[in-house]
Symmetry: C2
Subunit: 360 residues, 2 copies
């Protein structure tokens, strides 16, 4: 963000706000990398300079999430949408199956892709109540793993922590990774598109238990085989250089700000601020059930439908960007990723209060 | 490149040199996009601003390559390495097969991935002569399409034009797309990683004949089905925003410089300059057979092995970057993509002449 521009409160659902210092450093690297005379994006990915970037990014993921040595870290491409397939391919044995907790649009898509390459079924679903809650996970019935979507951006729901189930978890954490500490040993695999808490669009993070990988008995295509990428230190082919570099910068920022424990506190404070106003203000109502509310994406609607465009206008006038809800449920969505300051949430709450005064 | 830095002649094989004006504009957009108060990488990919970028990038590919309306243009992820699989999946009918011209390392990899999802076989190969030439394409024998790698970066060989065969071509053009006009109607599909002539690493271009797509009878995973992406205007999932934007900038530059016809002339002049010196200078010898030489990557070796490190030192001293040959064949490789000026090639030739004077 340019310092000469008016302040914008960026509630975009993703790609989303990144720390201003990260944007500045990324911009400088595209012009010239560390005084090298060359841009970040015109050097070989095999150069010492970029190999160091990739290794630092992987090491920061490891340190910030306290990963044991038997977990691998990769930065690949294709987003979580290719991750749906890749995760199922690498962690469902030939002849085996995976159970899916269907908690929203992305979970449904994950299940759909898994069905294209093997056996996969819904273990539970909250579709009949409009995905307004996170259902408890029942015991599995013979599946090899359980797939969850830890945060559901569209509906504004989130698992309160790491679920306890009788099988290893495979998780799409695209929209809440690095928002809190995780109990990593519960997971066989975590995958996450970068463009929420980790960096810009263009790379997807895979974290997986090496002891559980390469065990499916399947002959996988190279790009979809996580062990192929691991054998090449996440450089099987040309990586998405800019996205990895900017993710590395964002992870440095995360560390400097106190890491995931500090983020958890900040995110809780932001969520408490917005949900308190949603519950208090008679002109608005929350979408997600209170015990399933997301700290990343608060979804709410206007009690009076005619207020919806008026409130969005009031937000725009206050410099609030990206508050329009997803077309699936309408209304409003306040995405409050790690880089969003509490002051932006406070501004939104002020606009809600003022809207009550003028339209209540 | 910063104007305060010493001039570097960037012969990197890829990621590689991009036009200085593109680097500057990309850097500015990461700081702030068009006075919006927001960075390019923190806005929604569904915003009007980014949808316009994607549409301009696709339109520029169409106009600069003179594509008829029945060709589709997509910007996806995974590089050509995932393209090997995607191209075979989308253009080999279930029960059909594809012939491969094996002209180098990347062609071998393409064939390997194709074999994982169906029937594929070598139509011809130059492996027995160290991939030092482009063999003529024999008639096919029942295959549905013929796969070629139009330019072979490691060995420095290239098809002189668009081959004439009795089946539609499927081509990996990662390292020479936009270097010359193409006879598009010969191709069912072209795919190309961006990081040579088109932009930074992180996106891969697909161009294909819509009339031939979706005809395989296969139930493809969504991300690997080109028709799924086409139905969503190349926004099936979050695109690699920075890579698409910077490719769009590079395509604008290409257009402003006179397009692919102008590039063809420039590239021919650069290639003539370096090959004349390789043939003249007794201290060096070309690797590729003269009639198969690439205008993008000139490969050569020192007549005396002991000269190899000395010549690389001389190049470094002259500000020449990225000249070391690929480990497969050693020696030197001068990559001369669109953005490399003739003056850089002239500098390299001067260093070769000086090396002859001091070491001949």
């Amino acid at each position: 963000m340019s310092s000469t521009s008016p302040l914008i409160h960026n509630f975009s659902a993703g790609p989303c706000i990144l720390p201003p210092s990260v944007l500045q450093q990324a911009s400088e690297a595209v012009s010239e990398l560390d005084g090298s005379g060359l841009s970040l994006i015109e050097i070989s990915h095999r150069s010492a300079a970029f190999v160091e970037v990739m290794e630092e990014a992987r090491a920061l993921v490891r340190s910030e999430l306290s990963l044991p040595d038997h977990y691998e870290v990769l930065f690949l491409q294709g987003g979580a949408s290719l991750g749906f397939l890749t995760a199922a391919m690498n962690f469902t044995p030939a002849g085996g199956s995976m159970d899916y907790a269907v908690t929203g649009t992305w979970a449904k898509k994950a299940l759909k892709e898994a069905k294209k390459m093997g056996t996969a079924q819904a273990l539970t679903s909250s579709e009949d109540t409009g995905f307004d809650r996170i259902p408890a996970l029942p015991p599995t019935s013979g599946a090899d793993a359980v797939h969850i979507t830890t945060n559901n951006t569209i509906y504004g729901t989130q698992y309160a922590g790491d679920p306890s189930v009788d099988k290893p978890l495979v998780a799409d954490m695209s929209s809440d990774i690095f928002s809190r500490p995780i109990d990593i040993e519960r997971y066989a695999c975590i995958y996450a598109g970068a463009q929420k808490n980790m960096g810009p669009a263009g790379t997807v993070l895979y974290i997986y238990d090496k002891r559980r990988a390469g065990q499916t008995g399947r002959d996988l295509p190279s790009y979809l085989d996580l062990t192929v990428h691991a054998d090449k230190d996440s450089m099987f082919n040309t990586p998405p250089v800019f996205a990895v570099y900017t993710s590395m910068l964002t992870l440095r920022w995360l560390k400097s700000e106190g890491g995931v424990a500090a983020m958890q506190k900040r995110n809780a404070a932001k969520a408490a601020c917005i949900y308190a106003e949603i519950d208090r203000n008679p002109l608005f109502q929350g979408y997600a059930q209170p015990d399933s509310r997301s700290v990343m994406n608060a979804t709410f609607t206007a009690a009076d439908d005619q207020h919806t465009p008026l409130f969005l206008e009031a937000c725009t006038a206050a410099g609030i960007n990206g508050l329009k809800g997803h077309r699936s449920i309408g209304g409003f969505r306040a995405s409050m990723y790690n880089a969003l300051p509490l002051s932006s949430v406070e501004t939104l709450v002020e606009v809600m209060k003022e809207f009550e005064r003028t339209h209540g």
